[in-house]
Subunit: 328 residues, 5 copies
């Protein structure tokens, strides 16, 4: 889907422009054009990029192939900016998915390109339709609006992850299973992925806030600085969540080890209690004490009484002994 | 609660000013105004911030939304500074809680904003009431007084944590339980959180001590440098406490493993001692040696004597053997 | 094999030049010479390098001895660049092999030297033969074409590794064996090796993109910048794959530990169920209750009924007990 | 104890000056005054510091409160330098103790302040008494003499630690106990502490060697450079000793695990050898083969011979089997 | 042993000079003097260093005391350079030993000092005797020759270590013993030590290649750059070998754990197979079924047949059960 939006010098709003309209609108330095490509194949986008907007082939290549790390290329008259939206799905095998949002930002236009629908873009688009003030601030301010929405999405995802982590921690302490372990490892992979995106994305907004770029108004830098601050915080939170995941795995191992200890103690107590007295019953089961062997004294009443006493006292003694040895 | 304090040029102290009083007091360049907002909702604070003090909307936003990392924004005529107070509660599930303290620091005014009561602010306020010299040093010196009190609170918390850590270490060596483990992990999370605050806070005071800021007197920089030194030290202590927590977990695992070893050794000794002689009693319990089978020699007195000897010697032999194999 | 290619000033393409032809071709500043040495022994290469191209002895040494880390030396009139091609072989003992590609890049010539055939070189060579435009961009652009092909090979290898890693992760969760472990460790070594190459290689292309080198056209820098971006991304992917491998090993240990727990629980249940009732049968096997001893009451019908009941109830009781102790 | 020492312009040495003497001696720019405060309470030191030497209140505060990290503050006319002496006590619960040494270093005076006696200070003091040349080099050279002595003490401690580490390593391989573990962890904490001191101390001497400080002669910088080199080396040794401690803990775990393996193997062999033959004896203990049951053939001589053979061969067979399964 | 070598301005070579000869030779700016001190006590070296060569006392101290980290001090007219030779001895308790080589490098002289014979020095010395061209390049080139030889020795050691590591890896997978573990830990310590030397040594040669030193010819810098490149590579290899050692220890633990699993499984199978049927034999061994008790039916032929069947089927059933529970 290609959709376009043009605010004229006079502040009037037009949508649904064709290629020729866009080309003429671009010649209006105080207008503002936003063209959004969603899920369009390269063969549709490329001609527009090269013939209408005259972007550099390398920049077009970057925009049309997925899986780039966030980056900012300054092509003097326009910027190529690639950032990523994220989505967190509780309990999925790969709980964190990312969607690339490529943007070309010129003095009087913004071109956005993405394969999947991105809620942040949709919301900004809707707001622009409703409220012309959104597009009054120039192309850089419009891009800020999109980026700000997108980073807000990060915040929501991160909060959801944080809650899940606390749940995992409780579960691991109480009733750790292989499934918990699998979920924690899936989340760990997700956080790894998140770090790979947040770090360069932070650098992108640092450049937008600090560098002397032709298409960014000096007075608008403070807004990108704000996004940068959010990303710094996100990076820190991500690091600490990664530490938390490591902590959960440490707890998991400790809990498993503790449990093993309990099991072995049980086994040891049982064995220690019954082995000696089983031996004793075996002893008197020997045929030396059979009816005709002349060891009648060994099987008399007093002997039986002593044996019974030993059968009771031996486990008691061993129980005390094992308690001392194995710190039960 | 909003409270205000105004030292006039003449050194006179007034409290309880309304918005209009504040606005006029701000026009006195050699006076000093301190307005403290405690637990006030945004809708109360915002008009004051924007209309009386004319702060930038982004700065106001930063101040009114919680959970920012410590930061310093230089808005030329004033600074926006966010720092955090901490509180350590021994034995709580989340032993370390943090409270944000936002401040706007101008040439002749200080605006502080916080959701929860912060003892450091309260103490400084009380001192200002008692002793006019506290406010004689200008707005930057007043802010230093607040920050210094707040950092002292860090020191006390850190000392309390340190003591708890030493207790945990002793407990883990002697009698580790799941509850100890849970407490140690809670503390670990707390230290993680602390690091996320101390690091940027250190940078805030580094900027106050080094950067050429319009609202900070050159001669007062040394005081912020002092706070910075405290934070450097805090950071180091925090790092080393984190290492200590890791150490405690290593000890925990070692102790658990050692104990398991003891348990298994006990089990192995018992089994090794009784299995062979139990077999022997089983052997003579076989019906081959029954009264009518003609194996009478096997159940005669000498055989019994030999058997008894074997029943005593076998465990002795196996005990020696197992000692050699299992290094008991 | 030595092969050579010469695009004259007029755009004409000649191949198979001898040393004299090359020497004269080098004197044509607007021509382009590419000489490729594949698997030639040092004694063949060295005279060419020193007498025809007049390279510095240290640079020649670097080119003729293998196993250098990627590096770039600026010899003013030419660059010595060593980079590596990689090949990933699924399931091999050393799954990742690297092949050094040395290059001397002058204003109007490119000399490549490698011991093993490198597909990227072959493909670029073939393309030059087919399409004269490939060699129209100058020596630096030709080198970019080779490097770009080579880095594409990295991408393919990395994707194959990524797939294998996901397979390993599934296997480890379900059915970990020593062979899996060996494969994972082999892959780990491979990633270690990869990192040792990618990091300095990234720096090489950073220099090509940033430094003011005499033999690189200012306008061609953007192409090397593109290769650099790929390598940055590769470095990040490699780091995260290393983390993934560590994660797999953590899973392995957790799974092994879990399994051990299961085994021990089984052992403990069995022992706990049968030891007490075995003792009981031993008790009644003692010769006190032999036919002639006068304990007839102990072996009467009611006693047998009670004994049977105990034989059934004891395991039931112990099963409940062990469940509580060992959390089965 | 306060002691003082004054070398006059003429090279004459006087000791035991009172406050007034010191004040007048300070006015002699080519003399040298050393005042040492040992274990004096703040109320004694403070008046001297502020009234006789006119130090800044913040610097005085730093000097009088303990537990600062090493640091250097340049107050133009004098330096405030805090460094630490260490002492290693073999086998103590906290084997490493540190003692702060505060110093004020001016052009013609040195003020040292410490709570506990520090051998390095004592030794330098004694040497000054014996040999006037010690104080001929100016205040900065005198401070170097103290610092050099103090760092030598580090070297001795570090060597003692190193020896203990090697002993621990041997012990852990041969006969690891809980006490060894406790000692190793105590040492680990000590090394952690050492690192926290050496790192900033190194920076202190780096500043003394590099920065353009008014009270340090250009030609004396090389001496502080030498101390700095020692501290760099100490830092490296400390790092490597920390790695060594980690190694010892890894060995500990491996040895414990190995031993557990041995124990379990012993248990498994015993169980495997005796369980089958115990079953066999139990089999023939059944009352089916009692004297009156008509199974006489089962208890005849040949049956007994076969049984005996089985009783010998079964363990042999199981021994081979368990060897194959459990790699004994 | 002190040996000396003097190339006169005319290119003539003289050896075995005494102190006076050396002093006069040093006055020849276009000559070249090399004096090598091997294993000489400080009291022999010091007078030569201070009186003949006039080195600074601190530099002489550095040279005469061992165990310095590699370093370079620029004393304007000469450089003091300390580097280390290494030797790897397969299978020794401390497999890696280092030998310090101190050098004073002037415009027209080189002084080397070492306690133990260093092969690299010997080889360079021999070559100088045979071939005057070796000493034609000036003092800096001579030092390069020595350093280059020495670094080559590193390469050989590192290759030997690498081979040993691969052997260890194989051994650990197949048949890990305590001795293997001890060797691996010894090697680990060696690599730690190596890192402590290579890192600063790299910096030494970086300075020689980059800094503007009076005694190094601008055109000779490229040679030191070459040594620097070797050391960079060595550092990388060392890091990766350290990772490899960690990997071996991880494998060790995994293999041990796997083996433990196998052992426990064996034990569990044996126990599970024999405990139930042993109970059964015990059951029928009870004296309820004695000849005179009237339970004759329980010991009749059909009962025996049923019992035999149960004795065979029970283990079969339990084997299946344990397989399901313990994943044998």
């Amino acid at each position: 889907m290609i959709r376009s939006l043009y605010r004229t010098k006079a502040g009037e709003l037009r949508v649904g422009l064709d290629a020729a309209d866009i080309a003429s609108a671009l010649r209006d330095p105080s207008g503002l054009v936003w063209v959004d490509f969603e899920g369009e194949p390269p063969e549709v986008c490329e001609p527009m990029f090269t013939q209408v907007f005259h972007f550099h082939p390398l920049a077009v290549d970057d925009a049309l192939t997925e899986t780039h790390v966030p980056k900012l290329d300054d092509w003097a008259d326009y910027l190529y900016i690639a950032i990523h939206a994220i989505r967190y799905e509780h309990g999925a095998e790969n709980p964190l998915t990312t969607h690339e949002l490529d943007a070309f930002l010129g003095r009087n236009y913004l071109v956005t390109h993405h394969d999947d629908p991105i809620p942040a873009v949709q919301r900004t688009w809707d707001r622009c339709q409703r409220d012309a003030r959104q597009v009054a601030g120039g192309a850089d301010h419009l891009y800020y609006a999109v980026a700000d929405e997108l980073i807000m999405g990060y915040m929501h995802s991160v909060e959801a992850i944080d809650e899940d982590l606390e749940d995992f921690e409780d579960v691991v302490f109480e009733r750790p299973t292989s499934e918990t372990l699998a979920s924690v490892f899936a989340l760990k992979r997700g956080l790894l992925q998140l770090r790979r995106i947040v770090s360069p994305q932070r650098e992108v907004f640092n450049k937008l806030a600090r560098d002397d770029l032709r298409v960014i108004d000096r007075k608008d830098r403070i807004y990108f600085r704000d996004v940068y601050d959010h990303l710094v915080r996100l990076h820190d939170i991500n690091e600490s969540m990664r530490d938390q995941v490591s902590g959960i795995l440490e707890i998991y191992l400790s809990v498993i080890n503790n449990r093993m200890n309990e099991i072995m103690k049980t086994l040891t107590i049982i064995t220690t209690l019954f082995m000696p007295i089983s031996f004793l019953t075996g002893f008197f089961g020997m045929n030396f004490f059979g009816p005709t062997t002349g060891f009648d004294l060994w099987t008399s009443w007093p002997a039986f009484a002593v044996t019974l006493a030993v059968l009771v006292l031996t486990p008691a003694f061993f129980f005390v002994w094992v308690r001392r040895r194995a710190w039960i």
